[in-house]
């Protein structure tokens, strides 16, 4: 007979930061789109041939994005504080609590991440490592924190390009910093899509742990325990 156990997985502070970050990041991206609309020059294409433009007219129309630059800035420069503070709280907590040991990738993580990707694409049938976060997760969750830092830095560079001229120059100039800021936003959207797909795959027990902190595990009972 297997023995059920409740195992503590995600500490309260991490769960709070995670769930607070979700609407904050969504609002930052949304208000960012309102600002971006005023000079919507980015596209995927070659020369005069455009595969996809950010954003098509239908997108602006559907979501009512147009002519809301001032409102977008008011929101962006309001929620930026909460976004950054939440990020600082999260990083401080993971460092002080030692949780960072589960999160920061090791040399092994990169090899392991490839296996995780192959496994998830049904191309590799081996067993994945038995840890709170596997290599792919470690890279993704640490990477997204670095992205957050990147958004703050590139954001500052386009917010005060003269006062922080050294930062703006370091990032390749005003237009480069703006593009980097935009790319990072695209990165969050990509992260979000993969994250949701993986959470759905991992199942209820895994999702519940991010809400209540505990997961249910079952262990083989052995006589010599």
């Amino acid at each position: 007979m297997r023995r059920m156990e409740m195992r503590a997985k995600h500490p309260l502070a991490i769960r709070w930061c995670h769930w607070v970050n979700f609407p904050l990041l969504a609002l930052m991206i949304w208000s960012g789109i309102l600002i971006y609309w005023a000079n919507d020059v980015y596209r995927v294409g070659l020369g005069s041939f455009t595969v996809f433009s950010f954003f098509p007219e239908g997108f602006y129309h559907t979501f009512g994005v147009s002519h809301r630059l001032a409102q977008g800035m008011a929101w962006h420069f309001f929620f930026m504080w909460f976004f950054v503070i939440n990020g600082i709280v999260y990083v401080t907590y993971t460092v002080l609590s030692g949780e960072w040991r589960c999160l920061v990738p090791t040399r092994e993580s990169f090899r392991e991440a490839v296996l995780v990707a192959l496994h998830d694409l049904r191309l590799w049938k081996g067993t994945l490592p038995e840890r709170k976060f596997n290599g792919a997760q470690q890279i993704a969750y640490s990477g997204v924190i670095l992205m957050g830092f990147g958004s703050m830095v590139t954001g500052l560079a386009i917010y005060k390009p003269t006062q922080l001229y050294w930062l703006t120059s370091l990032l390749g100039g005003y237009q480069a910093a703006r593009f980097e800021h935009f790319l990072l936003a695209l990165g969050y959207v990509t992260f979000f899509c993969v994250h949701i797909a993986q959470v759905v795959r991992a199942g209820w027990n895994n999702f519940r742990a991010m809400v209540c902190g505990y997961e249910l595990v079952s262990k083989e009972e052995s006589a010599n325990e």
Binding site: R7, A74, I158, Y174, A202, E221
Partner: protein, 281 residues
């Protein structure tokens, strides 16, 4: 095995099946961390636990597993209620924020935050930090960005800059373009960064605003003599308006005192054209 026990065992398997992906039950970490629901050895004397395969213990295990599940459900309910309360509070906060009394078209919490941001920017402002200058070959192609405030064709021969808030006489003055051109000429090739997100490298020529202030000192807060070094005694903002009143901008005094702030009358070696805000911007 009795029917009831088979069901319990099946339920066990089902519960195990729920847990997929990266989690596996039989890890060393699990053994170490598993304290929440592990019953203590009643004797506490390090004796081996009873053989779990025997029938009565199987029943005890099933009961204990059921207890763990119940505890998990309790914990889970607490977690989801907390999340729902948080979501509700967040939604309420959002509604509250956007229904506040507006100051100049923006709900006051956002407006106040913008003011705080501005105060911070002013506190950390330094006129010594300069916008990078570019070589002439980096000058951007012409760009026209709308005609807001440029509706009226300005008669350059009769145009005068209306200045208010000066220290002298009645505080007002009308200046010809020639009067501004008589001030020391400053040239620079810098990047104009529009709040909309585009930018253009332009070669500017004009009078530094500080030179303008020295020639036409503003009224001070104290009413005493004007000095560029007593910033707190200077007006807080400088506002500018196009001749037709269609475009208006307010600028903080710190920015106006920056050495790269010009009253500009030439752009890329040419007098400003009507589309670029002639005769002066």
């Amino acid at each position: 095995m009795s029917e009831a026990k088979k069901q319990a065992a099946a339920a066990d398997e089902a519960a195990t099946g729920m847990r997929e992906g990266e989690e596996t039950p039989r890890t060393a970490a699990a053994e170490n961390n598993a304290t929440a629901a592990t019953p203590a050895n009643p004797e506490g004397n390090g004796r081996k636990a009873p053989d779990p395969i025997t029938e009565p213990d199987l029943g005890a295990s099933a009961a204990r597993n059921e207890q763990v599940r119940r505890q998990m459900r309790r914990q889970s309910r607490r977690g989801f209620l907390g999340l729902a309360a948080g979501a509700l509070a967040g939604f309420g906060a959002w509604e509250w924020l956007n229904s506040r009394r507006e100051i100049n078209g923006t709900p006051w919490p956002f407006r106040e935050t913008l003011e705080v941001n501005e105060q911070l920017a002013r506190d950390f402002f330094s006129a010594r930090r300069l916008s990078p200058v570019f070589p002439a070959r980096r000058i951007s192609a012409d760009r026209l960005n709308g005609d807001l405030g440029l509706d009226e064709n300005v008669d350059l021969a009769t145009w005068k800059l209306q200045v208010h808030g000066l220290a002298s006489q009645d505080g007002s003055l009308a200046l010809t373009l020639d009067a501004i051109k008589k001030l020391p000429r400053t040239e620079m090739t810098t990047e104009l960064k529009c709040i909309e997100g585009w930018s253009a490298v332009v070669e500017w020529a004009g009078a530094r605003f500080t030179d303008f202030m020295k020639a036409y000192p503003p009224e001070t807060v104290s009413g005493g003599p004007f000095s560029l070094h007593h910033r707190e005694d200077l007006p807080t903002y400088v506002s500018m308006e196009t001749p037709d009143g269609g475009y208006y901008v307010g600028l903080d005094m710190e920015s106006m005192l920056h050495p790269q702030t010009l009253l500009c009358y030439e752009r890329n070696g040419q007098a400003l054209t009507q589309e670029h805000g002639a005769p002066r911007k």
